[in-house]
């Protein structure tokens, strides 16, 4: 921990002590927040938008960033075709094609002789680097796609950042992910190579409500309602009139942030301090001025942060004001847990994922506002990147990027 981050922690402690007297006395103010509506049923491979954005999270996920090795535009075209074919098959399921004596089996067999349909959700995104001079795509770059740069509290490892492509795979069982990755890698070895990878998992509700992150807090409570298509058009989807290239319609932007949580340190922090850093109660997930998870915090009624500190995470992230309404984004992160470090501490944390219409207006603006928040002492963002989520593959005649590479 640096000296400055230590200061941040002290200031939270002081705030927590001051706030103790009023805790529990503030009437919860609320309100017409719509209860979390059940998300739409899982979609198949085809659609206007890709699955894996507004579809329910599955239990396991793999985020794999690739660099394209194909030498030219036609190689990239082949790659998009191969990715479409393989992921369509893996999502839809079926009997892997027999190759007779001409080659080894076409399928690993990990999922049995018939690949079960509907067990995989796949999403493909493109990083800004794909639109450099290699494939002649510079003029087709989505308007708001950029390379992720470090925020003040980041500690980025360049080898775990960026990538020409990002594959987000989800399944309810890890063997489905393992099979999908093997299949995709096998068919694309010469055309793309893994740049970085992280696997995540979605926790179940504990005991109810929004699942918790590995700090023990509910994560994603304030997400916009994905069944409100008008709202999604305002916050999530790229569409006409936004200055984007026509091919990008139906796409979205994804910010992935690999955030290690220093859970040992966190577990040595008092409950009050933890709650004041987030601005929520750990047990119920209610904002500190509320009673239930879905209560909307009333920051206006607490202008000096006596109940919810001014630098609490939820207050900085979503001030709940009219001017910040269009900065809301769809968080769809997964927890991760992958071994230990040299100190013997657990390497676990969050694969933070936020979908949105405009990276600068939404994620970047929110993230800038979070700079220096007390929570930064307990987390270490080390990787990730920005990706443009390609429009959906419409039907069996369509493929990824058909508008980008006709």
């Amino acid at each position: 921990m640096s000296a400055t981050s230590g200061v941040g922690r002290r200031s939270v402690l002081a705030g927590a002590l001051a706030a103790g007297a009023v805790a529990g006395t503030v009437a919860a103010v609320r309100n017409g927040a719509s209860p979390t509506t059940p998300a739409p049923a899982t979609q198949g491979f085809h659609g206007v938008h890709q699955a894996g954005i507004v579809t329910p999270k599955r239990r396991c996920s793999a985020f794999v960033a690739f660099d394209v090795m194909a030498a030219d535009r036609s190689g990239l075209l082949d790659l998009f075709g191969t990715l479409t074919d393989r992921l369509r098959f893996l999502v839809t399921g079926g009997v892997p094609d027999p190759l007779g004596i001409s080659a080894p089996p076409s399928d690993s067999g990990v999922l049995g002789p018939t690949v079960p349909g509907g067990t995989l959700t796949a999403l493909l995104g493109a990083g800004a680097s794909l639109f450099d001079d290699r494939f002649g795509l510079a003029s087709a770059k989505p308007l708001r796609l950029s390379t992720m740069t470090a925020f003040p509290d980041d500690d980025l490892d360049p080898t775990q950042c960026g990538g020409d492509l990002l594959l987000q795979l989800e399944a309810d069982d890890t063997d489905v992910l393992a099979n999908a990755l093997r299949d995709v890698a096998r068919h694309t070895r010469g055309a793309m190579q893994v740049r970085w990878r992280i696997d995540g998992f979605a926790s179940p509700p504990r005991p109810v409500g929004t699942p918790r992150n590995l700090m023990g807090f509910r994560d994603g409570t304030a997400n916009p309602d994905v069944t409100d298509s008008r709202l999604m058009d305002q916050l999530l989807w790229v569409g006409a009139g936004q200055g984007e290239p026509a091919w990008a319609t139906g796409g979205s932007y994804l910010a992935v942030r690999l955030i290690r949580m220093l859970v040992e340190f966190w577990d040595r922090v008092s409950l009050t301090e933890q709650e004041r850093m987030f601005g929520r109660q750990k047990d119920s997930g209610a904002p500190l001025d509320g009673r239930t998870e879905t209560d909307v915090p009333n920051f206006a009624a607490d202008p000096t942060g006596d109940v919810i500190p001014m630098d609490a995470h939820i207050r900085l992230a979503n001030p709940r004001t009219a001017p910040t309404a269009d900065q809301r984004l769809l968080r769809r992160g997964f927890n991760y847990d992958r071994g230990t470090d040299a100190n013997g501490n657990l390497d676990m944390g969050l694969v933070f994922c936020a979908f949105q219409q405009d990276l600068e207006r939404q994620f970047v603006t929110v993230q800038r506002r979070l700079a220096g928040e007390p929570l930064v002492d307990y987390i270490r963002p080390f990787g990730g990147g920005y990706f443009f989520v390609l429009p959906g593959v419409r039907d069996t005649n369509d493929r990824y990027g058909s508008g980008l590479l006709p």
């Binding site: 009997v95 027999p98 190759l99 001409s102 080659a103």
Partner: protein
């Protein structure tokens, strides 16, 4: 010579293996087998695998080869082949006009059924039953027509690739040529190892390091992947903890060992390669090794060289890989006539060229020194190369046809 620690098992080819299989079969029957007696006549029971596909029960025996295939249909389907004969049988589904095989089941046990998955394009097909110790019998030719009516033809045009099997006879010329090629390489190996030994014993360690590289690349060019040369390969080129061979010398030469401590290691290496040369003259290579070698040399190079695992100080992994590619190219050149109609040779040639070009670009840099992007490119070209080479071993598998 052993065929390698990664053995390939061909019950229908090796007489010894057949004997073992029969003995095993007797014990298998006594224990009730895997399926139990209830499903012994498995052709009539509901298919457990591929429940959504059309199934056809077919008899496999010298007297009724292919019996039961009465309703031919194109597309993806399963033949539940049952050995109704008295001994293990290899089963092919082939195009009689060309002898090209679209599906096979090997070592089908008597009174047992196994699924044979195939996608049939319209055409003429027949079953071939190769019962142990009995001449091959080809069943009646069956005409498969395309689906009728509009909108049903999207997948009927392409079937499982049909490949003419390669027999032991087909592979013998190339095997003999490979044996001669290796024999022709051995004198320079022995000469270069002798020069290495001389340098070590005379205390010229700088010269020894140079000669080590020359001699080691001589050896790597032979393509001694996965124990191709048997136990002597372990002695010559095994990991350093064996304290013999090239890698023990390498570690010593690049870690300040004294000439006197290395002299016995160099002498043993020289004696081992001489022994290899002597024994090679009487070796009878199994024809099976050629196809295996064609992809295993590069598999071996990826596992042990591109990983940096066998670098004991010389930083020569990529030069080793170059030598391995030379060895692979030699094998491919010898089997090329067998491959032209069986695999996608242009893609293999392109992948080989890309691998060579990448090595040229990297100019012998140690793998650990490569940037992330350089490493990705290296992995891409070699990953693609082994994918392209994998069908070579599949189609060059030794098969019985008569």
């Amino acid at each position: 010579m052993e065929q390698g620690s990664r053995g390939r098992y061909r019950a229908g080819v090796a007489v010894v293996a057949t004997a073992v299989a029969l003995a095993g079969l007797a014990a298998w029957e006594l224990s009730g087998g895997a399926q139990g007696s209830a499903s012994a006549g498995a052709a009539n029971s509901a298919p457990a695998d591929y429940p959504t596909l059309p199934h056809t029960a077919v008899q496999i025996s010298p007297s009724a080869c292919g019996a039961g295939w009465t309703r031919p249909t194109a597309g993806l389907q399963v033949f539940d082949v049952t050995d109704t004969g008295v001994s293990p049988t290899d089963v092919d589904l082939l195009e009689p006009a060309t002898g090209a095989v679209v599906a096979e089941v090997e070592g089908l046990a008597p009174n047992r059924s196994r699924p044979m998955l195939v996608r049939l394009a319209p055409g003429a097909y027949a079953f071939r039953c190769l019962q142990q110790d009995v001449d091959a019998v080809t069943g009646p030719t069956v005409a498969v027509k395309g689906p009728k009516g509009p909108g049903t033809s999207s997948e009927s045009g392409t079937g499982t690739p049909a490949v003419v099997p390669v027999t032991q006879q087909d592979l013998i010329p190339a095997t003999v040529a490979y044996q001669h090629w290796v024999a022709g390489q051995l004198p320079s190996l022995v000469g270069d190892v002798t020069a290495l030994e001389t340098a070590v014993s005379s205390g010229d360690l700088a010269g020894a390091r140079q000669r080590w590289l020359t001699a080691h690349l001589d050896y790597e060019r032979l393509g001694a992947a996965y124990g191709a040369f048997g136990d002597v390969d372990e002695e010559i080129n095994g990991p350093r903890q064996d304290s013999t061979g090239f890698h023990a010398l390498e570690y010593g030469l690049w870690h300040g060992a004294s000439a006197s401590s290395l002299a016995p290691v160099a002498a043993k290496l020289r004696s081992d390669v001489q022994g290899l040369q002597t024994s090679w003259a009487t070796v009878q290579l199994d024809p099976l090794v050629l196809g295996v070698r064609a992809h295993e040399i590069v598999e071996n190079a990826i596992e042990f060289e591109l990983s940096g695992r066998t670098d004991y100080g010389s930083d020569s992994n990529l030069q080793t890989v170059q030598a391995n590619l030379d060895g692979t190219a030699e094998v491919l050149a010898l089997v090329r006539p067998l491959l032209t109609s069986r695999v996608d040779l242009p893609s293999i040639d392109a992948a080989m060229a890309a691998a060579r070009s990448e090595l040229t670009t990297l100019d012998g840099a140690p793998p650990a020194s490569l940037s992330q992007l350089q490493r990705e490119r290296l992995n891409a070209v070699f990953g693609n190369l082994v994918e392209q080479l994998a069908p070579v071993a599949a189609v060059l598998d030794v098969r019985r046809t008569t």
